[in-house]
């Protein structure tokens, strides 16, 4: 369905009635005002008729009409129209003039007729001759009248047309102006973080958009409710998943501590590894779900330095288990965010760096501020990530081909999700000396 323009729609609705009103206006204005013009032109014809009537002579036996050529010329000269006349005796007999001038149908003194295929206006003038009255018919073609009517129509319609044009222009720009509150509302919604499910401030919205705002707020509330339900579900799922996994891990490790046949031990080792992987995968999936829009916890003031310091002990033990030298360069790095999610993001970066470092490798965690922006980064001297892979490694379940180990490919996707939720940039680059990998999260001001 094509996008429907409110403007076009309004114009389409307005145009027919405006056109109809214009036409009606023209008709209403034309007929009453055209009468005086017609009367004036008719009057001129009456005058000619009266002047012609003066030239009828009454002889004892007949009527004669004697018109000097000069008078005929004066009377019948007109710039636009041809003038014809006809003189009839009291008994209706033709005396003189053009016999084709139509006779009156009833007793009308001015009427329309046709003369030699042309429309004409005819007046009939009674003029005294002897004891009774003769009739002089004067006909005139209608050029003048048509032109006058046309001009009159035009001048009477012009203001109407101008008003109509002005109306359309006002509608065109008025719609834009009138829709401004909606434009502002959409700007506000666009600027929102997808995780921000707080209601829109209805009091600040213009009267006309209140209904829309309250409908949107209803939707937002439903979304927030759904998000809360999801969080409750996640908390329960986490509990339900982790406890049996802990039991499984405990018993596998107990079994491995027993003197068991080597053939069994191999399988048990596999079970043990799978248990650990499953546990980690469960944790990561839960973290990913938690980091998704709507899953965000409370934003508060968090110092990335404190986050790292709180986890340093656990990370150092992870690193020692793989004989990796984990070091720190920590400076204050205040951000606004969810401490739990930020910890998860950093833990994933550190975990990756330790996993992909060689034995004896070196991993450094840094926090601080650059150009007024807080950052946290993890650098290793492992195999690094090729530039063409850097975008893809942020995708879920993607693992660089040929990567050893049993990672799920979720770690960096979790980091990206959490960074996105905090408006942070994520950069992948080479480590110092063009070796290894450096992943930096940079947080915007505020």
């Amino acid at each position: 369905m094509p996008a429907r323009s409110l403007r076009a729609h309004l114009l389409r609705m307005l145009l027919p009635p405006i056109a109809a009103l214009l036409a009606l206006g023209a008709i209403v204005a034309y007929y009453p005002s055209s009468e005086p013009t017609t009367e004036a032109y008719d009057q001129a014809l009456f005058d000619i008729g009266i002047a012609l009537g003066a030239h009828i002579r009454v002889a004892p036996t007949e009527y004669r009409f004697e018109l000097p050529a000069a008078v005929d010329q004066v009377l019948r000269t007109d710039r636009h129209d041809l003038i014809f006349y006809r003189v009839l005796s009291p008994s209706g007999l033709h005396i003189a003039g053009d016999p084709s001038v139509p006779a009156p149908a009833g007793d009308a003194h001015a009427y329309d007729g046709v003369l030699e295929g042309r429309k004409v206006r005819v007046v009939s003038v009674e003029t005294p001759c002897g004891r009774s009255a003769c009739t002089v018919l004067v006909a005139e073609t209608t050029n003048k009248r048509v032109r006058a009517a046309r001009e009159f129509l035009l001048t009477s319609m012009l203001p109407g047309l101008l008003i109509a044009l002005a109306t359309l222009v006002i509608v065109w720009f008025g719609v834009k102006r009138g829709l401004w509150p909606l434009a502002r509302l959409s700007e506000e919604l666009k600027a929102r973080s997808p995780r921000d499910l707080r209601p829109i401030d209805a009091a600040a919205a213009p009267e006309e958009t209140r209904a829309l705002v309250s409908a949107l707020n209803g939707l937002l509330e439903e979304l927030a409710q759904a998000a809360r339900n999801q969080q409750r579900f996640l908390a329960n799922a986490a509990h339900q998943l982790r406890t049996p996994l802990a039991g499984l891990q405990a018993h596998t490790e107990l079994a491995l501590a027993q003197p068991i046949p080597e053939s069994c031990r191999v399988h048990l080792e596999q079970v043990h590894q799978a248990t650990i992987r499953t546990a980690r995968l469960a944790n990561q999936l839960l973290a990913l779900a938690r980091a998704e829009p709507g899953g965000r916890g409370n934003a508060s003031d968090v110092n990335l330095r404190s986050v790292v310091e709180g986890e340093a002990d656990a990370w150092v033990h992870q690193a020692l288990a793989r004989d990796v030298d984990l070091g720190f360069e920590l400076d204050t790095a205040p951000v606004k965010g969810d401490a739990l999610l930020l910890r998860e993001a950093l833990a994933n970066l550190v975990h990756n760096a330790i996993q992909y470092s060689a034995r004896g490798g070196r991993v450094t965690v840094r926090t601080g501020q650059r150009g007024g922006e807080s950052f946290a980064e993890v650098e290793d001297d492992g195999p690094g990530i090729a530039p063409q892979e850097r975008e893809r490694v942020l995708e879920r379940f993607y693992r660089v081909p040929g990567t050893p180990g049993t990672g799920s490919g979720l770690g960096l996707a979790i980091v990206r999700e959490i960074a996105g939720g905090h408006g942070a940039r994520i950069e992948l680059a080479e480590g110092a000396g063009a070796r290894g990998c450096r992943v930096a999260l940079t947080f915007p001001h505020g």
Binding site: A238, A250, T275
Partner: protein
Amino acid sequence: MRLLIVEDDAPLASGLSRILEAEGHAVDVTERGEDAVLAASQEHFDLVILDIGLPRIDGFEVLRRLRAAEKPIPVLVLTARDALEDRVRGLDLGADDYMVKPFAMPELTARVRALLRRSQAHGGPRIVHGPLALDTVARRAFLRGEPLELAAREWAVLEVLLAKVEKIVSKEAIIQAVAGWGEDLSPNAIEVYVSRLRSKLEPAGIRIRTVRGFGYMLEEFKPAAH
């Protein structure tokens, strides 16, 4: 040592008790918080391993009641819930340590050892770490039974590290613990004391690991394989 496990998941509880029994502890298991509070009030336990997600009264409530009884029993909290992790971490509840399920058993046993050691050392006049023994009353140290000369600052640094075996300790934390009022101690000075301690302790197999840019960690003593 006598341990109490409060865990309602039977397979996990049995796994934990077997592992801890293998470490040489006497282990009791209960799956109900009420029973745990009752047992702790009537008998002596050296450590309680407490699951948060219990039926009826949950782990937090058990912890609150244990603490209300003013029994200084060390409590190791187990949790499976991320959302609760921060509450556990905020030591306002009085847990001595916590672990998120699932966990590796060696880590659990290491934490249990550390907690028991800390509670034994707490207020006790004697701290023992492998071949090293500190008499905190007489302020004398012995290594393999021989008297060990330690300067006052070296003693103070060693005491801080011994209180947190297998845990990393930041230089700032050491400075705070070692420096007296109004004293200004530089991180470099701490490095000097640690390096002197190393030269005295390493021959006996006691290792202080440097955590680059952070601080130090006194490693758990492992007798050299023979």
